[in-house]
Subunit: 288 residues, 4 copies
């Protein structure tokens, strides 16, 4: 994964010849395609595509690749981008007190499995400062008033300011137990990733394991999704479930659930930073 | 499983000494316990128990076992029953046109894996008559008017009559695409098993795969549950999920889903006929 | 899946421009690519490709497609074929006495989920004649002497004769409890599919569930693979596992295992008949 | 799980009346059984049992419980023990350079999910000293010569000395890439837990992911087992698998595999420290 590559992702109205045009363009410059994926959405008749190209196979850099590709892109009315694996995504983590997702993501980061920069961690509690700072990552405490939503406006403004200051690419709510206000959801659409501790759309909102316990389900789950202005209703990136039984208490579910939550979030975030997730309405295409 | 056994299931208010009393009672008559399971529900503080006893280890038959046990049962205010593996449960299957669950259950039955009697199959279509009758099982067609619920009263009365006539123990809605009216749900509470083609409580009601497709979930599922007067809201017996991705159409989901549906129904029905399912409010205890 | 399509599969030495050349060829004739998958094997540096093209988007038929494509194919030294979804694969099923795979495959066939022709079923037992013939499929009994391998030569010659007579494309050992002799394995390489009741390479050979029980594994599995002259060692197409525990006897494993076996075989066979499986040495590429 | 409990585990020749005798003994002293599990091994006809009793329901302490129970235990020829949840197991972790299991276990420990003492971590590399010491846990470096097995005798003697000095209950090889010599395996039988990065018995020994890649399996796995003097052949405690496909390289398998390895080891260790694992020959009974 440390090979230098360019990742081209695009969507456009479907028609004959898109793949031929794009792969012809790449081949004409000697480009070596390492991975290629396509999808046509049946409802919108939009075509989606992702290609990874070996950087050293092209006679020019990413800027030139973009410049040359834009002509073709216009012709097909493409929505597109080229990213460069040498330019790491900047991921800002938000946490509260539960640290299983944080612990998991920081481990993947320090071992080189998750190839991103983590410019800072933001929290509404001080508990995890020591662990974060041990990694050499700045930790910002933002006080979050417990009263009502309006009171939280300055706190979220501060979060947005911190995120912008470090030029964050994506905000990860790694068990951040606060509801992001609609204006931020809109402003950072497709750039805020949340992990919800249920198999959505079941058990949206508060205390999903309690809801699951009372409904008597036989599996619990977790969902990684983009945050939208409707609570727990944004485009789903990844989900998983695990079996429980009647003997499991809510506390057991909470404990087991942590293992799915961290796994699902880690996969979802990985897909995102590798430009594998393309949003189509309220759904996602995930080119694994 | 062909060993002759008695299965004792019970529930009662939890207190010290229940297991000692019951296992003492069994041991005192030389009873050999082959399987034993317990559970205490935290909300109701009810204790649940299931024991399988080798019939040949006891010096008396099931009737005498019941007679002798009733004294102990009264003392502990037990809700209890003793069933005999030699007395097979009588399972009436209801189907419409889709036959994947029917095909699966009849196969398990004719191979001896599902040790039940199937006195008849009831359907609102004629399509599956040939396949059912090939098995030597009577097939009853009951016409179901397509208009409104009231019109269906005579049809459901006929279904109830057929079920009672063959002394059915349990009615299995093996993809029977009709809503059972509330009075039948009440009359046969805990005796009607349905397979719903979603991971409940998500996507209750009609066309769950279409609902799943539009929500963009990454797993689909199926749920086997007892039918109650609230649609798709009765006690859940068994569930499972499987992974799909953005490339799967509604038709693909329908096709994949059949495999989960039949597996989940087969397991749920097996648990039921082996007296492994005890209902506690709107939840089930399943002693696997 | 009932849309008329041509499926192009190919492999050739990897180099720049293959995708561009192939998709350019298709686009030039107005061909509409519905599905496309690629893979480069790292060890052999062979490139593998599969494309589904809508038949009605091309101005000619499959024969003409083949004729025109062959020039390009030669240029790239391709190993290739074009199949036509209107020409169904001819699948001959071989069974012994266990019928769970047979029951499952025949159900998928009669419901149209498995779009193949089944010209006959061959068995070394008479048990399943009635069930097969109910489907209107000819059933051939071939006596299999119980003594040694040499004695079985005429029986396998008869099986090969029957297979050739019906112009079979693929032979499916749907729990056929006989070892196919090496000469047939070679003669029909890549055309005989077996389901083995273990997670290979663990527990090859006889009585895998007994082997699994004695080793004390916590999961059991099944493997669908092409038959080669080394027993249970051919290229693996599909596998799956399921959880068991210490309470499960060998008989329980046999019973549970049937459900994995039939699911794994059904998936593997489906991949094969849809030309999704490309063999690379002793491994398979499965373009799902 | 913080409720104070005594855990009674036992095995003895199977006969009528064991459960009655044990539960009668507990009830007679007012003991409240919170969890109870039984199993009879069919091959050895040995009976296995585990009970969790609320400590505050008994009028005496663990020592007195042991004293009183021993009479009954002798009568039934039991192999038994009573452990006390207030007395935490002492777990010594051994690691090399890969830290995914260490990171996972230390997280579960510092969050109170894994209720054990970790008196020290031992490693044949210095890499993980900083991370371990941040937790306030002593880190011991033991040099391991790279040449042959005999040279390693003093290193393993030092490991044993460290383990004994801290009165370790169980040694966990959390991706410790050294083969424990037979004399230590014997000396600490049932007290050394290893995580092997394959679904045993497939791919025992070195480089299991390479072996898996070359065999072309469609699932990879991990196995948590007690170490015995035969390499990777001891009693299996827990296993799991996950799906891969032809596109996954050995490096991908290594990366994905870490997630199964840490999950399987965490579950296996948890079962062990909660006295849920009883060894029966080369198999385990795991009372989950």
């Amino acid at each position: 994964m440390t090979e230098h590559r360019y990742t081209l992702t695009l969507s456009c109205p479907d028609r004959v010849g898109i793949v031929a045009a794009v792969s012809g363009f790449v081949a004409q410059h000697g480009g070596w395609i390492v991975e290629a994926s396509y999808h046509t959405d049946q409802e919108t008749q939009l075509f989606f595509m992702r290609q990874e190209i070996r950087a050293d196979s092209l006679p020019f850099d990413a800027a030139e690749l973009r410049a040359r590709f834009s002509k073709l892109a216009n012709e097909f009315q493409m929505n597109w981008q080229v990213s460069d694996t040498k330019v790491k995504k900047r991921v800002v983590l938000l946490v509260s007190q539960q640290d299983h997702c944080l612990n998991d993501l920081l481990h993947r980061w320090r071992n080189g499995e998750l190839q991103v920069d983590i410019p800072c961690v933001i929290s509404n509690h001080e508990d995890l400062r020591g662990f974060v700072e041990w990694h050499g990552i700045p930790f910002h405490y933002v006080e979050m008033p417990n009263k009502n939503e309006q009171d939280k406006t300055p706190a979220f403004a501060e979060i947005a300011r911190l995120f912008d200051t470090v030029r964050g690419d994506v905000m990860v709510l790694a068990r951040f137990m606060q509801i992001v206000p609609p204006d931020l959801c809109t402003r950072y659409a497709g750039r805020i990733i949340n992990i919800h501790h249920s198999f959505l759309p079941s058990f949206a909102g508060a205390k999903p394991y309690h809801q699951a316990y009372h409904r008597g389900v036989k599996l619990i789950g977790a969902t990684c999704h983009y945050v939208s202005d409707e609570l727990d209703a944004g485009p789903i990136i990844e989900q998983d479930t695990m079996r429980i039984d009647h003997g499991d208490t809510v506390e057991d579910m909470v404990r087991y659930g942590k293992d799915i939550e961290k796994a699902v979030l880690a996969r979802g975030l990985r897909y995102h930073v590798e430009d594998r997730v393309l949003v189509c309405g309220n759904k996602t295409i995930v080119f694994r």
